[in-house]
């Protein structure tokens, strides 16, 4: 039984090894230990979707994982989406369609949309709205977010 453990994981292509408290959440580890503060923490119980990241390419709530559970995994956070100073097409689409207001929920939304669009083309508006159901925007800007997802589907060559 341990109260601290060493973890090694890859975040946005960079390998990190750190000793962490076993009760540190993955979102806290990313923000406090790795200074990757683009992952936002809202509700802290898996309801709001702000802290969504990709673990092994699949979305996960980083407030519902202990950092020790991520040992050995490959993670993408919002900081890993833009490449070489160019926004990802999903980010481009959110910008063009004004798919954000305060921006707090945006990083989680972008990664949710990344998984949603990565294996489908031409989703219906109904599909888009269902895919976004796990991400809460308290500026209530859903209309433009839905438009942004439809645009991202067209912009993203995949």
């Amino acid at each position: 039984m341990d109260i601290e453990r060493e973890v090694t994981l890859t975040v946005n292509g960079t390998r990190y090894t750190r000793v962490v408290s076993v009760r540190k959440l993955l979102c806290e580890f990313l923000r406090d230990d790795l200074d990757l503060t683009g992952t936002h923490v809202g509700c802290e119980h898996g309801v709001c979707g702000s802290c969504t990241i990709l673990v092994e390419g699949h979305t996960a709530r980083s407030c519902l994982m202990m950092a020790v559970q991520a040992d050995g995994t490959e993670i993408t956070t919002i900081e890993g989406l833009a490449k070489d100073g160019r926004l990802h097409p999903i980010q481009e689409a959110f910008w063009e369609e004004h798919g954000l207001q305060c921006g707090f929920c945006t990083s989680g939304l972008l990664l949710t949309v990344h998984e949603f669009l990565s294996d489908r083309r031409d989703p219906s508006e109904q599909n888009i709205r269902e895919a976004l159901a796990g991400n809460i925007c308290r500026c209530t800007g859903y209309q433009n977010i839905v438009k942004a997802v439809a645009k991202a589907d067209r912009l993203w060559e995949r």
């Binding site: 076993v22 540190k24 959440l25 119980h45 898996g46 996960a60 709530r61 519902l64 994982m65």
Partner: protein, 299 residues
């Protein structure tokens, strides 16, 4: 730091996990996908002294066809079940219900066993395995026990699992191809916990009469409400139709004893139980392929 202090161990295999549970079970919690446990840790609603992480155990993640039924390992991710062709073909009720379990972000991590062992009275999977008359396989250093789903769920967040036991698999019996099933729930948003839901499965004979059925409700009490015996009285040996499904549903609605809470008052839940039980029974009946007839469709 959100969770209260605990000590943590990773179990490499089932033997190690049940060894640790044998040693620390009274003060330990098992961590699998963490999608139900970690929120409770974050709010300090649970403060276990020890956390036993079973998430890295190999061989507890499987979906297999056994004697026409399905055996599903406790660590199988909900998303794996959602995408499984085998589950869709052999157990369409589970395939339909799993889409209502949380959101994709939580189904990617959440496990079948975790949801069952957590036993939230509004969760979908406990009702599904109750309706299907499934068994749960529990393991401890003392040996194995197999319990029927209806014995396993004992109250809100309470199961028959002993402190030293690990849920290792759920075993869904064979329901012949052509059996109809339906899962209906009402929730405020896609992916939210259900206010009330109903899972129904129905097998019909060549003459169209009901041979066997199962139905269970969620959000209508402190555990899945097994309404199989009520529906059996109304429907076994009958040709199911709107009238007799509705009659069964009305008795089910009158029998459930839900509590009022912030989401819905008890009388509204009773109303929903009646409506959704009726809808699930009739839909299951319509989906059942009657042997030797062309009409009807499985899924």
């Amino acid at each position: 730091m959100r969770p209260a202090p605990f000590e943590y161990a990773v179990a490499a295999d089932v033997d190690q996990a049940i060894g640790l549970l044998g040693q620390f079970g009274d003060e330990a919690k098992v961590l699998a996908g963490g999608q139900s446990l970690v929120p409770m840790l974050n709010f300090r609603l649970v403060r276990p002294r020890y956390l036993i992480d079973i998430g890295r155990i190999k061989g507890l993640d499987f979906v297999s066809l056994v004697d026409g039924g399905l055996h599903i390992g406790a660590l199988t991710r909900q998303r794996t079940v959602e995408r499984s062709d085998l589950v869709r073909d052999v157990c369409p009720l589970l395939a339909e219900a799993i889409k209502h379990v949380g959101h994709q972000q939580t189904r990617n991590r959440g496990t079948i066993g975790g949801s069952l062992a957590h036993a939230d009275p509004a969760a979908e999977l406990p009702a599904v395995v109750t309706a299907l008359d499934a068994r749960l396989r529990l393991k401890s250093i003392a040996g194995e026990r197999v319990l029927q789903a209806r014995e396993f769920f004992q109250g809100s967040l309470t199961t028959a699992l002993r402190p030293n036991e690990l849920l290792v698999a759920v075993e869904i019996p064979s329901w012949p191809i052509g059996t109809g099933s339906a899962f209906c729930e009402y929730s405020r948003r896609q992916g939210d916990f259900a206010i009330v839901g109903a899972a129904a499965v129905m097998q019909r004979e060549a003459n169209g009469r009901v041979a066997r059925l199962g139905i269970a409700l969620i959000g209508a009490g402190d555990r899945p409400f097994d309404a199989t015996s009520i529906a059996t009285d109304w429907l076994i040996g009958q040709i199911p139709d709107e009238a007799n499904c509705k009659a069964a549903a009305e008795e089910i609605g009158a029998s459930v004893e839900p509590d009022s809470d912030i989401h819905a008052p008890a009388d509204y839940r009773k109303h929903l139980a009646t409506v959704l039980a009726g809808r699930a029974l009739l839909c299951a009946a319509q989906r059942a392929v009657i042997p030797g007839r062309e009409r009807g469709n499985g899924h």
